[in-house]
Amino acid sequence: MHMDPNVSPIIAIEHLSFTFPDNTVALKDVTVDIAPNQVFVVFGPSRSGKSTLLRVLNRLSDLSEGAQRQGRVFFNGRDIFSPAVDVTELRRRLSMVFAIPTPLPGSIFDNLAYGLRMAGIRDAQTIERRITRALEQAALWDEVKDRLQSSAFALSGGQKQRLCLARSLAMEPDVILLDNPTSGLDPLSTATVEDSLIELKSRYTIIMVPHSVQQAARVADRAAFLMGGELIEAGTGRQMFANPKDRRTEDYVVGRFG
């Protein structure tokens, strides 16, 4: 399950288990490495633990009070659960885009500036520069450059999702966590978002829960197949979708279940 030994992983997950307070087991002994500057796809049937895995990586999982976690996660070699880790800083390094586009109330500009302001960045020029670049990277700049002060709720679904992507990019993170970012989007907007992802991986590591197996196959450099909280297999995108080793992966990829 390990990747190219010459590249040190940006994220190393070791024997990670996660159980919700109601005793639902979301992850069972998951071990996998994630290389930098790749699109890493986590796919599998619903309730297989994909979203939980993403949420553990930036510790949004801390919000489920009373949940049990075992195992360790290393980000750039540091244990993210060590008491010395500043959770807010971790969440700035690993920024999440959610399945349902969720603008915050306020203008487009306010949305993009929010994370920066909360991080203590006050300089208007810095904020403006980072916002402009983030909007360009998310392929939204041309559509909103003349109305940055209008409400973020007035955007279309696809624009909202790219706004959320841009909001994460403005943080200049190392890793972008995408939890089914195209779930509510039409095929055209989906294609726009997918194209921007492939552009982005030169600068960022992208970990993504895809909308479908087809999408997974389109964007994955590497992929991990989860089922019932267990990691069934992980490998390169090409191998996983053309030539899976495990019977269950094959059944899922060709659509025998799921």
């Binding site: 949004l60 999440m96 909360m118 909001r167 943080m171």
Partner: protein, 281 residues
Amino acid sequence: MTRQQTNRLAKIAISLVAALVVLPTVFVILYVVYNGIGVISWEFLFTAPRSGMREGGIWPALLGTVFLTFGTAIAAFPLAIATAIYLAEYAGDNRLTRWVRLAIVNLAGIPSIVYGLFGLGAFVLFLNLGTSIVAGSLTLGLMTLPVVISTAEEALLAVPQEFRTVSLSLGATRWQTIRHQVLPHALPGIITGIILGLGRAAGETAPILFTVAAFYLPELPRSIFDQTMALPYHLYVISTQVPGMPLSLQYGTALVLLLVVLSLTLVATVLRTRMRRRRQW
């Protein structure tokens, strides 16, 4: 009778009963307006009572009620908001929060005269504040806490959970999230709750009886440690304690009290409607 006829009949009967509820309200208001409107004048509103309260106006009582309403707001606001934020944002479901909630529910059920006695014991005597605007405001504030806390908590919980999740995921701390993404959106609702609570406080007699209200005090209070007259207690006094009191003055006082309370409710309602209209999600 067919089922449809029964259905129609039931609907008519229930609507009629519901309409009946409006009648007492309208009747009380109209009756007080009819009997009281005659004495309302500049002089009635803005001069002190004279001749053993049988003549003159209600200015000290009106102003006293305004002071007490502000005092109540200042006393209740910080405590209520802090409690509501704790309950809605920080507290989970544990033994402490269950006790806090139980206490709030019971606080709402305590008769107002008991608040009055408690205020006398705790604020007037034990804290040695004397019968004063401070003591009265604290007592009224305590009484309005449950209403304000529960409306504030509701307003906080009405802010969509996703705003909190998104804010945290962008690296904001818990407090930054509350401060920037929860409180601003909950504030109109919280203020509505406070004004409704104040509307009730402004009209109460029992809690101010032993803590602040003066029987007859034509001078205006000079500090928050002075006694003051207040409209509800003044109305009680001129209705029961003063022989030979002209009825029109009693109705005039009742009308002013009613207007004070109703205008507070009106402000709260308008605020809530405007907030709902401006909400973006």
